[in-house]
């Protein structure tokens, strides 16, 4: 504004008013736009860097090397004494890895009596083959005694070597695959019996110490249960609390105090809720450890303030004229709220809820204390059974020593990002489509 002041004593005539500082103000506006663009560019750069590092590391996790084997379900190996009619457990505990080993040895033309070579052959196939072949037999016991083509999972080391994640240039003794195994791998690849197939196991398997049979299945179910509990508990409680505070409660010191506390709770670090959950739900109420019900309750506590704040602002955004009109034609206060205000505020409430859920979905810290950062291989049948959550699975895999877990960590991050993106896009679409503005 200094340029508007004309120094005293100059004989210059005053410039026309509309020219004053115009150039400078335009320049300032231009500069501000540039700052804004730079700020966004920095943000986008980091986002791109994050996505690049996750996707470049993780896309390979969606493929898994498998070997096509003509497995002879030899009765003399599976059930030598022919007692499966009386003792079905025999099919459960049979030596399935031997079947796969023998099939691969036969394919590669190796003498099954050569123990050293058979050891190397055995290490090319995942130990998960036991469960895989067992499932084939359990599903259809009549395959015993026949030969079936089965795509069995290759071991994690072969998988990593095939994907080029193990440096094959360095000495044989410093890597986990031998030259012989690499040669066999190439041989199988040429005959078309070894290829990368879509890794559906990544979505269906539970936790495993072997990378090739590790998946986020249990974590997905655990996260689903928790989200369900959060939704079912925090939506009605949060909406009821907000309606009361916004529409019915008198504005006095008490409601002010409650409001300050709710806003405070929204900013409390999530680990605090974990401590609370441990003390109240596990130690006092004696709910089981590691169960998704406890996780869901803890995340409910964490999400409630977010939902209450979003709901209150959605209720406030409904113009007072609508309330007055409803009351004016004789509606009770409750009818006014439930027939007019709440339906109009619903899109805002749902958006807030979805954002709260997305936040809860990505939370690990509170789950640590209630025992959900755990190795869980069995699917939980109910929310009372032990389970993990998606972000927990990522955290657990990030600490693993095996090379093949590196890509799986990023693969799991991609899955989590996918779910978050779906939730947030739904929130945006809801807002665009249904929200009414006045």
């Amino acid at each position: 504004m200094t340029d508007a002041i004309i120094p005293a004593g100059t004989s210059q005539p005053a410039r026309p008013r509309r020219d004053i500082g115009l150039k400078r103000r335009y320049a300032a506006e231009q500069r501000f736009k540039i700052y804004g663009i730079v700020a966004i560019a920095i943000g986008l750069f980091f986002l791109a860097a994050l996505l690049w590092s996750v996707f470049s590391n993780g896309y390979t996790a969606f493929w898994q090397t498998s070997i096509n084997l003509p497995v002879n379900f030899d009765e003399s190996v599976i059930d030598p004494d022919n007692e499966r009619g009386t003792n079905p457990n025999i099919l459960f505990t049979a030596n399935y890895p031997k079947l796969a080993r023998d099939a691969l040895a036969q394919k590669l033309g190796i003498d099954p009596e050569d123990r050293a070579q058979m050891r190397d052959v055995g290490k090319m196939i995942s130990d998960g083959v036991r469960g895989q072949l067992r499932n084939v037999v359990m599903a259809n016991p009549s395959v015993v005694g026949t030969t079936q083509n089965v795509w069995v999972l290759a071991s994690a080391d072969i998988d990593s070597a095939q994907k080029g994640q193990i440096n094959l240039e360095i000495g044989e003794d410093r890597r986990r695959v031998s030259d012989q195994q690499v040669a066999w791998m190439r041989q199988l690849e040429e005959s078309g019996d070894l290829e990368q197939r879509f890794n559906s196991g990544l979505f269906t398997f539970g936790a495993s110490s072997r990378p090739e049979t590790a998946g986020v299945g249990v974590a997905l179910v655990g996260s689903f249960y928790m989200m369900l509990i959060v939704l079912v508990l925090s939506l009605p409680i949060g909406v009821a609390a907000s309606i009361y505070l916004e529409e019915f409660a008198a504005k006095n010191r008490w409601t002010d105090l409650i409001e300050v506390n709710i806003n405070n709770l929204a900013a409390v670090p999530s680990i605090v809720f974990g401590l609370l959950g441990l003390a109240v739900f596990i130690n006092f109420m004696e709910l089981p450890r590691s169960a998704s019900i406890v996780g869901g309750l803890v995340l409910t506590l964490m999400t409630l303030p977010t939902i209450i704040i979003a709901t209150r602002s959605a209720l406030r955004a409904v113009p007072p004229s609508i309330r007055s009109a409803a009351l004016g034609i004789g509606a009770s206060k409750m009818q006014m709220v439930f027939h007019h205000v709440l339906p109009l505020a619903a899109p805002g409430i749902l958006t807030g809820t979805i954002i709260g859920l997305a936040q809860a979905l990505g939370e690990t810290a509170p789950l640590l204390l209630i025992g959900m950062v755990a190795f869980v291989a069995n699917y939980p049948a109910t929310p009372m059974d032990p389970a993990t959550a998606l972000p927990v699975q990522i955290y657990m895999w990030a600490g693993e020593a095996e090379r093949a877990f590196v890509e799986r960590t990023s693969g799991a991050i991609i899955i989590l990002l996918g779910f978050l993106a779906i939730m947030n896009i739904t929130a945006i679409i809801l807002r665009r489509r249904v929200e009414r503005r006045w």
Binding site: N89, R174, R176, G206, A207, P236, A374, P383, R403
Partner: protein
């Protein structure tokens, strides 16, 4: 909206109700050391696959201390059955256990873990001794018989056989069980060899103060505490090619193409040299079993027996394959017998 609210509240009540009826636990619950975690996972997984009648145990991570704390909370279905630990249980912890009614604790030592130094795979060969480690990483070192602040900036100042690299070592943080072994087997051993206790006595320190002076790590950036796991140490070495990292043997063996391991006192760490006791830096791994839960939690006894079976913990088993140093034959037999006999601490 009304129906939505009604269903929601009905479902909420249903969830709250189901919480009231806690079903009997049919799954073993384990918590504790992150060093023992990979081994416990392998056993748990194989256990679930071998015994059709039992579910796969749940193994929590979180550290030895946190695991033992949960373990000592009491007896009953809502407490864990086994605590994994990369160190021995302390007297104070046993007392806390007893105060809460956990009077019978069975200790099972199932093998050893080696602690190794490793550098980037492209670097030169390293031959370390405890004295080198002490001189390079301690806060105060002995120079001319006196304790002074650590003056060394490069490894070759410590020992001319070492490369001309700035001293930057990534060592386990204080909450790790590995740290204790690192202090005891390297810093204190090196300190004694370098004449630290005498120099400390000369400076007028009593024995306790001398010991803590020996194991105090320099804080000027030469030694970096890593509170995360070994993947973090590996990432640090990836970005700083002249850094030296401390790893568990199993982690090194899984990443031997990226790392070069240093010899300590002339011995290359391996399963053989550690089980024979030649390689100096190792520690026992163990877990603690709540005896009161045996026979109550289905599969608990079978799990421990399966863990101690040679097909798991033996020299050709999957644990040794992953990097566990198996205990000698007699020791494994003794552990099995002690568990069968139900010996408690």
């Amino acid at each position: 909206m009304k129906t939505l609210l009604l269903t929601a509240s009905a479902a909420a009540i249903a969830v709250a109700m189901s919480a009231g009826i806690a079903a009997a636990r049919d799954q073993i619950q384990i918590a504790g050391s992150s060093t023992v975690l990979p081994y416990a996972k392998i056993v748990a997984e194989n256990f679930g696959e071998t015994y059709p009648d039992f579910k796969t145990p749940v193994v929590e991570s979180g550290g030895s201390s946190a695991g033992l704390k949960e373990f000592c909370k009491g007896v009953g279905e809502d407490t864990i059955d086994i605590a994994n630990a990369s160190r021995k249980i302390k007297e104070s912890e046993l007392k806390a256990c007893a105060d809460n009614g956990v009077t019978e604790v069975q200790e099972v030592q199932f093998g050893y873990d080696g602690i190794v130094f490793a550098t980037d795979a492209a670097g030169p060969d390293w031959e370390l001794t405890p004295v080198d480690v002490y001189k390079a990483l301690a806060a105060k070192v002995v120079v001319d018989g006196k304790l002074v602040d650590n003056p060394y900036k490069k490894w070759n100042e410590v020992n001319s056989a070492l490369p001309d690299w700035d001293i930057v070592a990534y060592i386990p943080g204080e909450k790790h069980g590995t740290r204790e072994v690192f202090e005891e087997k390297l810093l204190i051993a090196g300190c004694e060899e370098a004449g630290g206790p005498e120099a400390a006595a000369e400076a007028g320190l009593d024995e306790d103060a001398a010991a803590s002076a020996c194991k105090a790590v320099r804080k000027d950036g030469g030694a970096v505490d890593i509170d995360g796991d070994y993947t973090e140490t590996l990432a640090r070495i990836d970005s700083n090619k002249t850094g030296v990292g401390v790893f568990g043997l199993s982690f090194y063996e899984n990443n031997a193409d990226k790392l070069k391991v240093a010899t300590v006192s002339g011995v290359t760490p391996s399963v053989e040299t550690i089980s024979s006791g030649e390689y100096p830096v190792s520690r026992p791994l163990q877990f603690y079993v709540k005896k009161a839960h045996i026979g109550v939690i289905p599969g608990l006894k079978e799990y421990v027996t399966f863990f101690l079976d040679d097909q798991m913990v033996g020299p050709d088993g999957p644990l040794a394959e992953y990097g566990l140093v198996p205990a000698p034959d007699e020791e494994r037999d003794a552990q099995r017998e002690a568990f069968e006999a139900g010996e408690t601490m």
